[in-house]
Amino acid sequence: MKLVVTIVGKDRVGIIATVSTILAENDVNILNINQNIMEGFFNMVMIAEMPENAKMSLGELQKVLKAEGEKLGLDIKAQHMDIFNVTHNV
């Protein structure tokens, strides 16, 4: 399943490192990263592939990312990519 991971919040050192470590530990492969920083505000989108036999379910991964995000003052979401496909592709 393809995931979209979005991270929004105040910029700081190590955001990508933290998130990509969590993803790697759970067999989630990053396919694409896109980010910008505007006035110290960090916006990032990762497209990633989660294998069928991943260590965690998507629900569990979401909880881990959310908890880590709260520690860093960031809003981290992981969503099934189809929600974006249906709203932007015919």
């Binding site: 979209v4 979005t6 896109n34 910008n36 916006n43 989108v45 998507l58 629900g59 979401q62 979401k77 969503q79 099934h80 990519m81 189809d82 929600i83 974006f84 496909n85 249906v86 709203t87 932007h88 592709n89």
Partner: protein, 453 residues
Amino acid sequence: MITFDDIFETNRMITENKLDVRTITMGISLRDCAHPNITKFCQNIYDKITKSAEFLVKTGEDIEAEFGIPIIHKRISVTPIAIAADACETDTYVPVAEALDKAGKEVGVNFIGGFSALVEKGYTKGDRTLIQSIPQALASTDIVCSSVNLGSTKAGINMDCVREMGEVIKRTAELTREQEALGCAKLVVFCNAPGDNPFMAGAFHGVSEGDKVVSVGVSGPGVVKHALEELKGADFTEVAETIKKTAFKVTRVGQMVAREASKRLGVPFGIIDLSLAPTPAVGDSVARILEEMGLEACGAPGTTAALALLNDAVKKGGLMASSHVGGLSGAFIPVSEDEGMINAVQQGSLSIEKLEAMTCVCSVGLDMIAIEGDTSAATISGIIADEAAIGMINNKTTAVRVIPVPGKHVGDMVEFGGLLGYCPIVPVRNKYSSAAFIARGGRIPAPVRSLTN
């Protein structure tokens, strides 16, 4: 390829503009549960509902989390009980309502609809028993919803039932007076009721449906309002185009949720209901969309035209986004469930008479309107007859869900809680009597436009 901006736009629609899926509703046929013994019948329906919908709530929650789209309610609709229980040898269906309530709570749904009768042309014994049981059934249950279809374009209007429902609404209000007549918020009277509506209080599993079906009702007034905020002063062609595009996106989300739910539950997909359903939350209002089009307050002259445009554009945008569209599919204008409507009533801009005019061009009808508790049954029946006539003549669904709150008067506020919201008492300005008109009874014949063959 989806862009960075697309992703943030979708998430903004969800977080800031309150895009959500209002309900996943599982329709369950109870036609195979019939039994002359009511205790056995109640056991049959309890077993069938709890088995069929065992994973409905969990599936809804999983989809909600995985896709990041809120799914506000999970609901069940069943075969109209007047049909399913017709064989029962009993003079009350209150135990049936209690069995529905228990089954719905067991599987964790928010509402269970179908304590219903379809009587536009006449009554069976089961229909009479059901209608007489409504007040007590709604008073002794929490999540059961009831509806009665008493008119259609094909059959005309059953004026005996119009008379009776005025009285049933009054009795329901009386029996639930401690909760601001909450029973009436779970009771709707229809003309041309669709059998595949996923929205409450009017959902039931139509007799032409399969054994089980999953349908989805979308929402999204906040998303439409936000899109129109970018169009200050633009002409109506542009307004309609923008609403269509927005409705398309909203409906595509609903279709995706329906497809996933259908696949995971192993139950066929029924329909997407394109209704633009508001909530009492700020930023989730249909009235505010109409105001965004340039009306100082909802209810001002021009409101019906604005609503007509909105309703039509939502359908045009939504149609292509879904493989099967059905249910009510149009903008809802409930008063207590829409922050902008509540505000318009408080400002004196929106009256029950204007709301009646608005129901000619949108889905449903006079919905969630609290009126004075001493409004007579005949006046309520008169309101029902007028709405049913609008539906019958215009070949559309209309409904009445009014709440005559005992002891409350114009100037008072009534709180129903949750999605049902809160409502100032709306004045029924015309104090002249409809009693002799309603007392006639009989049937208003089907209109000439019913003869389409």
